[in-house]
Amino acid sequence: MKAINEMKLTVPSRSANEGFARAAVAAFIAPLDPTIGELADIKTAVSEAVTNCIVHAYRDGIGVIYIQAKILEQGRVVIRVRDTGCGIEDVKKAMEPLFTTCENGERAGLGFAVMESFMDKLRVSSRPGRGTTVTMEKTILSKGA
């Protein structure tokens, strides 16, 4: 499907960029006139994906986070968050609610559960040592419909 509009954003994996990334994506989809709930869902999902890059993928240093968002026809929004970090050994296990490899940071282990439940579609592909790509989709329903 042809994209009506698209954006790319590249940021270093510093935690200050969590807020910037979700605000940038929110501003990008603003022309679709999302409801407060839809906007909160997308911001939360982006925040989880970007935080995963910072906390997990680049846990030992600073790497680059690649964020891409597309607006397709009929209010479909596709967001991709990619890193070239450590990768995930077992994606299925990583996606289980409450599973976390973080032992000291009070992480709830709910990042993927939030993305999955707040977006319409979630796809995670990863290669250990090469990085992870998270692709999420959500249709913004027209307020007038």
């Binding site: 969590e18 979700r22 909160a40 925040s47 989880e48 009070e106 992480r107």
Partner: protein, 114 residues
């Protein structure tokens, strides 16, 4: 994001404001725990009235404070939780470990305390 702390008798209240994410959660946690360990409150209220955004870092924040309170027999209460925040909290089942006080219809949400 910011936190203002008050203690009244056995109750400690943390008025949270701004956006709760991984970036800011550590500092908030440190401030709350520092006071909680000193006063060992019977009840802790986390007031989300001024919170404009929260991701699963907020879940970690709530669960961690719940465990701390439990360690000295205190209870945790969540107040002024807006509906997007409630959606995140329900996903984690926080309504099972802490009382979520609903804002009554017509009641003005308490914002940031100066």
């Amino acid at each position: 994001m910011d936190v203002q702390l008050t203690v009244e008798e056995e109750t400690m209240t943390a008025f949270l404001s701004g956006e709760i994410d991984h970036h800011g959660a550590g500092e908030i946690r440190r401030k709350i725990d520092e006071m909680a360990q000193r006063v060992r409150p019977q009840k802790m209220i986390l007031d989300f009235g001024g919170v404009t955004f929260m991701d699963s870092s907020g879940i970690g924040l709530v669960m961690g404070r719940y465990r701390l309170l439990q360690s000295f027999g205190g209870a945790l209460c969540l107040r002024h939780v807006s509906s997007p925040l409630k959606k995140v909290m329900r996903l984690a089942g926080l309504d099972r470990i802490a009382q979520i006080e609903d804002t009554r219809p017509g009641e003005k949400q308490e914002g940031k305390r100066s």
